[in-house]
């Protein structure tokens, strides 16, 4: 029912694309990250919590419609519904059913609970399309509560040593997750403009977020004493950081699992916190889906598809997509100019 072409994942029966990277008439969007939600489509359909985010990022005038998880729409006989993917707020797996055949496009997803987005719900299907960003057995993410406790401990230690804390995470998704688990008893929480823009959009749309303060030029150095500042990757190495000195720099990413990546970042601390699945979560999700056909996209797709074929007895193949620019799927995000988060 679905096929992969040069524009994205195409459903001929419904004449719709899912997460297309070239302009089409009707696009179904799994979530609002820039490599899944491109500009230029005539019409968008996404989860209701993604609507405001798409408008923020692609323009207020786009033609976008939002639906709730579990709600069903029919397009030319194809039954379509959105289900929680647990990746970021508004992220969805898209289920398509036609003539008894069921496909699920999972977009980006995780099984860990982040207490911000609606947790992943497994959907039974015959054909499952999965990412493989961390599709190697070396990726075993620690329990999020352990990581959040580490972050708070690090913040507290910095504060006691007279240092401020700057913590880096993507503006949409990771930042909110970090903020929700910070312990305000330690100090004030400040945000970079890119993070604050996203937060405001979410708050205006009824999402509850912890109170934070946007970093503005009027604030003086002493306002940041003992504080934590949440900023996107584009801030690393930029003069914007100078006002917070002396500070300790922490980076939150699944890539921090590897020592090489930790050392490459000139960060003081790397926290293993990801909105993607690790090895165990990927395998569990695929098993739960009951799918016999698995299509592996962005990440370690060759290796992961081979594993599914040879060790799990599944009919798995790798698929080329352009979801390689995922804000986290990039082995390491490029600083500044190549990052759309830089709209401070």
């Amino acid at each position: 029912m679905l096929r992969f072409d040069d524009k994205g994942i195409y459903c001929e029966q419904a004449d719709i694309y899912i997460d297309p990277w070239k302009p089409v008439d009707k696009a179904l969007i799994t979530h609002a990250h820039s490599d899944h939600a491109y500009a230029g489509n005539k019409a968008y359909l996404c989860h209701k919590d993604s609507v405001a985010l798409l408008r923020l990022r692609l323009g207020a005038d786009i033609n976008v419609e939002g639906i709730d998880y579990g709600q069903t729409v029919y397009i030319n006989g194809v039954k379509i519904s959105f289900h929680p993917a647990g990746h970021i707020i508004g992220s969805a797996q898209i289920r398509l059913e036609y003539n008894g055949e069921i496909w699920v496009v999972s977009g980006d997803y995780k099984l860990q609970h982040d207490d911000v987005s609606v947790p992943f719900e497994s959907v039974k299907c015959h054909h499952f399309i999965t990412e493989s960003t961390f599709g190697l057995p070396i990726y075993k993410f620690p329990a999020p509560e352990v990581v959040h406790a580490d972050i708070n401990q690090w913040w507290e230690k910095n504060a006691s040593e007279g240092k401020n804390s700057v913590i880096i995470g993507y503006a949409l998704g990771k930042s909110q997750r970090i903020i929700q688990h910070l312990d305000e008893n330690i100090g004030n929480i400040y945000t970079h403009g890119a993070v604050d823009n996203i937060n405001n959009t979410l708050i205006q749309n009824g999402i509850h977020l912890k109170e934070t303060t946007r970093v503005t030029p009027e604030l003086s150095k002493k306002d940041f004493n003992g504080a934590i500042i949440v900023a996107p990757p584009s801030a690393v190495g930029s003069p914007w950081l100078n006002r917070f000195g002396p500070f300790s720099l922490g980076v939150c990413s699944g890539w921090m699992q590897l020592r090489g990546a930790r050392r490459r970042r000139s960060a003081d601390r790397g926290f293993i916190l990801s909105d993607h699945c690790d090895w165990q979560q990927l395998n569990e999700a695929i098993k739960l889906s009951g799918a016999e056909n698995v299509y592996v996209t962005h990440g370690y797709k060759t290796v992961f598809a081979k594993w599914l074929r040879e060790s799990c007895g599944l009919n798995a193949s790798e698929v080329d997509t352009l979801y390689e620019n995922d804000e986290e799927a990039l082995a390491e995000p490029l600083p500044a100019e190549n990052n759309d988060e830089n709209n401070q």
Binding site: P137, W255, R264, R269, S311, A331, E332
Partner: protein, 531 residues
Amino acid sequence: MKAFAALFTEIEQTTKTNAKVDALVRYFASAEEQDILWCVSILIGKTLKRNIKTTDLKMWAAELAALPFWLFEESYHIVGDLAETITLVLPEPDTEKDYGLSETINFLQLIATYTEEQKKEAIIERWAHMQYAERFVFNKLITGNFRMGVSKQLIIKALAIHFSKEESLIAHKLMGQWNPWEISLDELLLDESVTAKGYQPYPFFLAYQLENPPETLGDISEWQIEEKLDGIRGQIIVRDKTLFVWSRGEELMTDKFPEFAALKDILPDGTVLDGEVIPWKEGKPLPFAIMQTRIGRKSITSKTLQAAPLVMVCYDLLESEGEDIRQKPLSYRRAALEKLLAEVGTDANLVLSLKLQCEDWEAVSMVRDKARNGNYEGVMLKRLDSVYETGRRRGNWWKWKVDPLTVDGVLIYAQQGHGRRANLFTDYTFAVWDNDVLVPFAKAYSGLTDKEILEVDNWIKKHTIDKFGPVRSVETALVFELAFEGINHSGRHKSGVALRFPRILRWRKDKTPAEANTKQDLLQLINAQDS
């Protein structure tokens, strides 16, 4: 080993040298004597004998993690470090136990006597008792090549703080070979009669590359100027009628250089010479390629001895008649060296380093420019009143190497790096044009900034044409300027040339592949150098 693993973690989590030193000092203050000795030994880069085969380790880890072997190999390839890969894939520990550092080392030495089956059982048992950090350190001890992000200089600093001693004394005491099982901390570090260990070399004094124009060094008459030779830096020691030849890497090379064997009877007792061991014929150095025929060779035949005869070009005298004269000015040491070599005569394979007579800095610069034709690397500038310091220092000694040769090459293959560069395409192969075909001529790994590495990595991932195992071939598009120290004919490379120390100088975003250099250009460089 919890304490040692915690030290490791603490050091890894900071980029500040003071924090690293603090962590070391705290470890020294709380650890057992035997553990401190082993900690120092490991951190200054002494390796343990490997008693377990890499393949065995891989197979046991894959088996425990219930992974097919190919998947373990793929994972290893991405991580770039075997110890870390094993640590990551192993299942969680069942019960924890704390083994001491020296107890662990004892275990790893003892395991040599075990049968294969016993080895497997013993290692698996240890793995099952350790958390991530200890497991990683444990695996690092097994696989060797333990790098922790602290330089020897920092260890010396921390030891000096902890024991309230001079850094130079600690540096000296740590030189050479010592066995943590057979020595006490007292003997190793605190006993101040330094000649107690007759074989022990002095810490080398190393120079930085000159950073400012030579005119900034002041009056040229205050400087000693010598050719910078491209051999192996070493110390020749004769004490108690016994000869020791040490390399700068603190490797004892006495047996590799039979040319010097007679010196134990020729040089007076209590002599330490500092100089360059180098192949030499008719009063001139031979190319470094000839030296390479001597290094790494286990047995030395008379044929190799003839083809690559070695001398030491001596440029400093550190100990004279049993007296440590490093604190005397260079002019004094040089005079003593000249006197000594004159007495020894010309048959001893010791050559006095030539003092270059230059009227002004302009003249020095001209000598430097001719370095490549004369098989030397540049010039050394040493203040005549300088004492012999320890380690790499600025100010009194400078090296002033000749500018490297450069060539523009096209990126054709890329491979992922290891360690700090794991998971990124950082190992590149470059090609030049041979008519309308690109022929590979050099591999280079270093020279780009971290930001450029990310950019190139990203580009490679999107412009791959083909994959051969770990190697990717990429579209013909990116041009880089490579620098290198020397170039020679080579039958082993497709391009017919071999470069010495190639590295990336810069990314030529302004150039198209058509503007890259040709094989003919490279051959001309060789001709120019040989003429």
